[in-house]
Every structure is written in C-alpha cells, then in structure tokens.
C-alpha cells in the first residue's frame, strides 16, 4: 500500500476510535448496565499516564489498568500512534484547525515544549508521593469530564426544551412520541442531569481548543502530559520516520506536520520521534519521496526542550512540595461533613491516591448524585466524585459507579454488599422538620427509606398548631445503626431549600 493509502487508513482508524469513544459516552448515560461491546472505561484502561500514576500513588499493581501496557508496547514499536490514531482529544484538536495557526506557530519557541515534560515529571513525582491531583490534566479525563458535566447535559437540555416546545403543536405529537420511544432511556436519560462547576470544566476544555488558534494541536505539542510520556517512550521506538539522503531541505514536511515535529535546523534536519504523532502526512508530501519508517535502535538525539537534570529535579521538587502543601490543607485533613464519597469508599487518602479524576462514575450514576468536588477535600481532591444527596440519591438497586471505575478507587461491590456499604449517616434537624417544628404531617423520609427494616422510625406525638388545635402527627427519627446514608431522604425532603434531614460524612 502507498503511504497515501496508509494515511487514509489512519484517518479512518481515527474516526472509528472517535466514534467508538462517543458511542461509549452515550451508551453509559445514566444507565446501570454496561453497554454491549467493550467495557465503557476502555480508553482509561489503555491510558498509561493514568495507569502509572494510579499504580505509583496507590503502591500496587492494578490489574485492570494493566491494559495500558499495550499502549506502551505500541509506542515502543512505532511511536506516538496513540496521539495520532487513537486519542479522541487529539483527533478533535487535529480536526479543529485554524488557517493562521501555522504562521503563528513559527513565532512560538520550541522550548515551550518542555512544559509538557515538566508537567509529566511533576505529575509522576506527585504520584510517587501519593498525589494524583494532576491527573485532572489527563487528556482522556479532560474530554470525558467535559462531556459528562457540561456538553451532554447541555445537549439533553436542548433536546428536552425543543421537545417541550414542540409538544404544544398537536400535529407533531406522533412524531415526537416516536422519537421519544426510540431514544428516551437509551440515549437520552429520563432525568435531566446537572453538574456543579460545569462552566469551569467546559472553560478548560474550550480553552484548550482555542489554543489551536496559536498552533495546530497546541495542547498536544506543548502541554499534554500523556503526550510527553509517550514522547519519551518514542525516543527509543523501534520504527521511526527517518529522512533519507535525497532530502533537499524543502521543508514541505515541516509545513504539513500538524504537531510541528520536524526540526528544520540546517545540518540537523530531522523528524523528532518524541513529537511525531505518526500521522504520515510528511511521507505523503515528501517530493523526493525519501521519508520512511525505518528500524532503528539508536535513541533519538537530545532536544533543547528536553528536561535538563536541573529542570527534572525542579519538577520532582514541585511535585513533592505540591503533595505536601495540598496534603496539609485543613479542608482535606479535617473531617468535612459534606465530603460524602461513593459507596464502598472507606478511607479518604486511599481513595485520593487511586481516583483517576476521570468522571466516569458521574456519567453513569443514574441519579446524577455524584458531583465533581471543588474544595471539599482540599484542592487535592479537585474534581473527584462526591455524593450530593440533595441533587441525587444513591440508588439502593444500583452498583454502577463501582463497575465503571477504571482504577477500583470505588470498589466493585456485589449488590448485597453495596447495600450494606455506609456512605454517611442521616440526621434530622428538629428545628426545621415539618412534624417536629410545625406539627405538619409528613413522613416522606420514612416512605423513601430503602433499607428493609426502615432506618427511620415514626413515633406518634400530640401537637398543638398555631390555631390552638391539638392533633396527632408522626415524627421521624433516624435509627443510626441501620442508616446507610443513601440520601434519598434528603433528596426527597419536601422542605424548601436545605432539607430537614441531611446526610453527613460518617
């Protein structure tokens, strides 16, 4: 096959992987069951940055993430195939291209590429000391988190709003009913999800895309820590693009190269394997047709943007210092009552050193109970999942978050065990609870309580209302030993504003 044919293959593979990624995103929208075909977290399991980070931080071999070895192996054979063929964020950044970006890129010093290596070194150093906070910058995590918390809810909101408006037109009702029958409950969730901080998360994502105005694949060139990791591995890849002796230094290859991987310095005209995303554009465009993938055992030469020993030590120190600073944040060290973790999570430090910040649990949670944390666990826990019962309760019949978690930070529990996993304890504010404070009958918390013996007991009491009438109401009390903190009582408490029954971290 010609190089042009291979380029077509690459483009098709890229589209297929992107489509597969989007399929997985939609396939697990608020559903308890894993979709057909692969496991929904396959992209995270292939991601070596997440895998190495989580294994370093939790100091254990995580078999599920062992799949990342496949990506590492592939990279050692032919370089950053992941970036040019597989990574969905990379594909998106490749497709969003601006005409002036090439000109602007020329004025950006290649030295800026060291930012990504610095980020990588800092991330891994932090992971070594147990901190995974920087995984918020993993490209798959960024894309998934943005889709989960911002883009999907916005799409659902748009569809729901349009449908609500169109349902007023009688002649459209059969059409809308047909559409609903096809997609509701499968592609569209029944409940409209909403997430805190969706704006900040979306801003990061669209900011990264906007950086493409400055250079093609700006993120991949200068910032991506996963790209940096794969770049380092590519320095020793067995096959790499080599320019032959027929080269006239016409720089056509440099012009077409999206990630800017061609070093055009005269006398050192070559393609930098660490920056090359194996897109094959240069091979197709080479006039003398003298670029090809060749076997080589010699490590690639040092670049000016590779970390010096001093810079590497600096990154290491930054990572360590960051972990120490974040780890002594009072908000992390004190027992924050609102830091309610998904079912099965017992120890906060263990959880933080295994959670990939990937937000898959938030995506699959059928009630959107799982929300990205801001500072509930200090900045160390940024965008880790929290149960926010007033937003959504933990469904007594569901184990989805544990099933979908790529690293096992949320343990995969069988339903019987998950039903006993205590995520918090409910407690009632007698000053606000309707029957306690106002003598108004209400038993919603008891009604909703899913535990077989009911963790809320009702006791009859005589009350005198504002007009002096005596009546009997049932007053709820929490049976602490039975309560698992699922939060459906808080979620459905009919009191306006803050619920009169709340779940606290236990």
């Amino acid at each position: 096959m010609s190089w042009n044919g291979w380029r077509r293959v690459r483009q098709s593979v890229q589209i297929l992987f992107f489509a597969f990624y989007i399929y997985l995103i939609f396939a697990v929208v608020q559903q308890r069951v894993a979709p057909p075909l692969a496991s929904p977290n396959i992209f995270f399991r292939l991601d070596p940055l997440s895998a190495i980070g989580a294994m370093l931080a939790s100091r254990q071999w995580i078999p599920k993430l062992g799949l990342a070895l496949a990506t590492i192996g592939l990279t050692i054979i032919i370089g950053r195939v992941w970036c040019g063929w597989i990574c969905p964020l990379g594909s998106l950044l490749e497709w969003v291209s601006f005409r002036k970006a090439r000109k602007r890129a020329v004025s950006i010093s290649p030295r800026w590429r060291l930012v990504k290596y610095f980020l990588l070194a800092t991330s891994l150093a932090a992971a070594l000391f147990g901190g995974l906070t920087l995984l918020v910058l993993d490209p798959i995590a960024i894309f998934t988190r943005t889709l989960t918390t911002a883009i999907l809810p916005a799409i659902f909101y748009a569809v729901n709003s349009i449908e609500t408006a169109l349902y007023h037109l009688n002649f459209l009702i059969p059409v809308l009913d047909g559409f609903e029958g096809l997609v509701r409950g499968t592609v569209l969730p029944v409940e409209q999800p909403a997430f805190t901080q969706s704006l900040a998360i979306a801003a990061l994502f669209f900011g990264l895309i906007a950086l493409n105005l400055l250079a093609h694949r700006f993120w991949c060139r200068y910032l991506c820590p996963l790209g940096a990791l794969l770049g380092l591995l590519s320095k020793v890849s067995l096959f790499r693009p080599l320019i032959g002796s027929a080269c006239t230094e016409c720089t056509r290859c440099a012009i077409v190269c999206k990630p800017g991987a061609v070093d055009t310095t005269p006398a050192n005209f070559h393609i930098m394997p660490s920056e090359c995303t194996v897109c094959l554009d240069c091979l197709v465009n080479c006039k003398p047709a003298d670029i090809s993938f060749k076997f080589s055992l010699k490590p690639a030469p040092r670049q000016e943007f590779d970390l010096s020993r001093r810079q590497a030590l600096g990154a290491l120190t930054t990572g360590a210092a960051g972990v120490l600073l974040l780890g002594t944040d009072l908000r992390l060290r004190q027992d924050n009552p609102w830091r309610i973790r998904p079912p099965g999570v017992t120890d906060e430090d263990t959880f933080l050193s295994a959670c990939l910040r990937c937000s898959q649990c938030m995506k699959i949670c059928p009630t959107a109970a799982l929300q990205p944390a801001l500072t509930e666990a200090g900045l160390a826990g940024l965008w880790t999942p929290l149960v926010v019962p007033r937003v959504g309760y933990c469904d007594y019949g569901c184990t989805a978050c544990g099933q979908v978690c790529p690293s096992g930070a949320i343990p995969r529990l069988p339903l019987e065990e998950k039903r006993l996993a205590v995520i918090g304890k409910a407690s009632i504010d007698h000053n606000r609870c309707l029957p306690w404070a106002s003598g108004v009958p209400c038993i919603v918390c008891e009604e909703m309580c899913p535990t077989p013996q009911k963790s809320i007991r009702l006791e009859e009491a005589q009350v005198v209302d504002s007009s002096g009438q005596t009546s009997t109401v049932q007053r709820p009390s929490v049976l602490r030993d039975l309560c698992i903190g699922c939060g459906i009582c808080e979620h459905d408490c009919p009191l306006e504003g803050v619920a009169a029954i709340r779940v606290y971290n236990a």
Partner: protein, 357 residues
C-alpha cells in the same frame, strides 16, 4: 483567496425569518386541550361502558351524590349505589387461587369480561405500581408481573390496538425498575410495550373537582387513553397505612412533593381527575410492613387474591379488609368517596367471591 459563501447572509436571514414566522403561526393555532377530562370521558364513553366517568363530568361539583359509580349500567345514577342483582356482572370481583393468571382472568370475567372495557382499536394504558428498582416481585413492593402480563393479553385479545404499561419510579430509573420488577419481561411476552413517561410531555391541567389540589402536572397520555387500567399492589405505607388503587395514581404526576401536605385529600383530588375505568388490586402477595419499599420477606404475606372493580374506591375499600382494616381507616378512601368517586361501603354492593382453589 476569498471564498464565496454558499448563500449570502441576507438570504440566510430571510430564510430564517420565514421559517420562524411559519413556526410562530403554527404555534398560534389554538391547542385543543385534549388532556381535559371532559374529552377523555366523551371519547371513552361512546363505545363502551364508562359510567362513573361520564356521570362525573356532567355532574361536576353540583351533585356529588349523583356521580357515584352505578355499576355497569350507564343510565343508573341513583344517589345510593344500587347493588346490581346478584345474577348480573359483579360490581366487585374477588378471586382466590394459586395461579395469578387465572385469578386475573376470572376477576375480569366476573365484571363482564374484558370486552366490556375494550373495543376494537382501543389504545390502552396499564398503570401498575413499579415504585423502585430495589427488589424482584417476591418482595411484594411492585405489582405482580403475571397479573400485569395477563391484563395485557386480555386487552389484546379483546381487540386493543396497543397496550402500554408505565410508571414513574421514585427509586432508580424506569428502565431498571421495569426490568427488576419482572414486569417488562411479562408485558413484552404478552405483546404489550413498556413506555417511559418522558418529562417534556407532562402537561399542566386543572382538576375541576379538586378540593385542595386544583392543578397538577400530569402525563397526558394517562388522560387521553381509551382505557386506563389501574393495577396497584396492596401494601403497607407509613403515613396512609396502605397504598392501594388511589395512591397508585401518584405515579402519573411529576411533582410528588406537592402531594405530601394533606396527602389523603390530594390523592382523592387526583383520583377525581384520573378516573381509571378499571382497578385491579394485586393481592397475590401483600406487603404488611416497611412499605412501600419493602425488602424483607418476613413482611410478605402470600394471599393468592385478586380484586377487580370499575369502582376504584370499592376496590380499595375491599383491599383494606385483607389487612384487617376497613376503608374508613385509610384517609384517601373516605375522601375519595366524599368526592363521589365510588362507594366505600361494601355492605350493599354486588361482590362476587370466586374460589379457584
């Protein structure tokens, strides 16, 4: 080089404006408020016997006594529910026996057969109680799937064009609750379809007879169906003591929080709007404690019983006796009777008890 856009900005804006104006005009056509109960009753009453609904709408508010369901005879609007002669179709049927499918068939047959409810081409909705996705049917927190499946079959046999089954669970998603309850499998095997009540479709309607609840956001199909069959399971409930037919109707509205103050009256008000033409109470297994969610088999009692009636109040009232109570003990039953939605007094109605041993 400057690329020419496929259409000019002006043409684009013109097109947009035309389409928008067209849409606005279309939107201005007066919407037939097909969700009003009047129309439901009118369409429903033509082909089949729907005594209570017809009478109820004509006599709104003025003479609640006249709205008492009068058995299968639509002309009968006596102020006291006149018991039909024991030879005719039953006012209320109770069947006992080990096979839920036979129980269901026998109970409906005693009321005059499904053909007295379903005409050819009917669009039928069955509303079971699928409150959560927590437990399989053995735990008696959701309606028995065989009872629901049998009703679907009977409707289709009687000529229904389509039978949809729906509920809006408060615990878990509809998809998972439909599946765990076993109802999805039973309904699909019988040829019916599980339907998800989607939020964009809910419509705000008035409740003309409502004493306390006068407006509610409801799933309109419930009001528009040719036949609505209400299939609650008889089970314990913390505040109302029991959840039965009237209480089961809470599943068709969106905002259940608004129900919880003055619950009994509001359930009655909602019943006056929804008015299922047939109520089948599943008491194959009943949940005697820790309802409505359940989860402990020790709270489940196997009664092998099905109750059916056109009169939702009578069906509920009879079902209370299975728990050693009377209709008067369950707030929404007298409240519904007061609104003229049915008779609570079981002493002078034609009850047929059938033993299928």
């Amino acid at each position: 080089m400057k690329r020419r856009p496929p259409i000019s900005r002006r043409t684009f804006l013109k097109l947009t404006a035309t389409v928008a104006a067209g849409a606005a005009l279309a939107g201005c056509t007066p919407k037939q408020n097909s969700s009003l109960p009047t129309e439901t009753a009118a369409t429903g009453a033509t082909p089949t016997v729907l005594p209570s609904a017809t009478a109820g709408v004509i006599a709104t508010e003025t003479t609640p006594a006249e709205t008492t369901p009068a058995g299968p005879n639509p002309t009968e609007t006596a102020s006291n529910p006149e018991p039909s002669p024991t030879t005719g179709p039953a006012y209320l049927a109770v069947t006992h026996g080990p096979d839920p499918a036979r129980l269901t068939r026998a109970a409906i047959d005693a009321l005059g057969g499904m053909a007295s409810f379903v005409s050819s081409g009917f669009d039928v909705i069955i509303k079971p109680n699928i409150c959560t996705d927590y437990h399989p049917p053995e735990y008696a927190s959701t309606t028995n799937p065989i009872v629901v499946g049998t009703l679907v079959s009977m409707c289709l046999e009687a000529g229904a064009k389509r039978v949809r089954v729906m509920d809006y669970p408060f615990g878990g998603t509809p998809q998972s609750a439909y599946e765990i309850s076993g109802i999805a499998q039973a309904v699909e095997a019988a040829g019916g379809e599980m339907h998800i009540m989607s939020r964009p479709k809910y419509t705000r309607v008035d409740i003309p007879q409502g004493k306390d609840l006068t407006k509610v956001e409801i799933y309109p199909d419930i009001l528009e169906a040719d036949l609505l069959i209400n299939v609650p399971i008889a089970k314990h409930h913390g505040s109302t003591r029991l959840t039965l037919g009237c209480k089961n109707l809470m599943g068709v509205i969106l905002d259940r929080n608004l129900m919880h103050t003055n619950l009994s009256q509001r359930i009655a008000d909602l019943t006056s709007l929804v008015r299922p033409a047939l109520t089948v109470v599943d008491a194959v297994r009943i949940l005697t404690n820790h309802g409505p969610t359940g989860g402990d088999l020790a709270d489940v009692k196997q009664l092998d019983t099905v109750i059916a009636s056109r009169d939702i109040v009578a069906a509920d009232s009879y079902a209370t006796t299975l728990f050693g109570l009377t209709g008067a003990d369950i707030g929404y039953i007298p409240a519904s009777a007061e609104l003229g939605l049915g008779t609570m007094d079981l002493s002078n109605i034609n009850i047929q008890e059938i033993n299928l041993g």
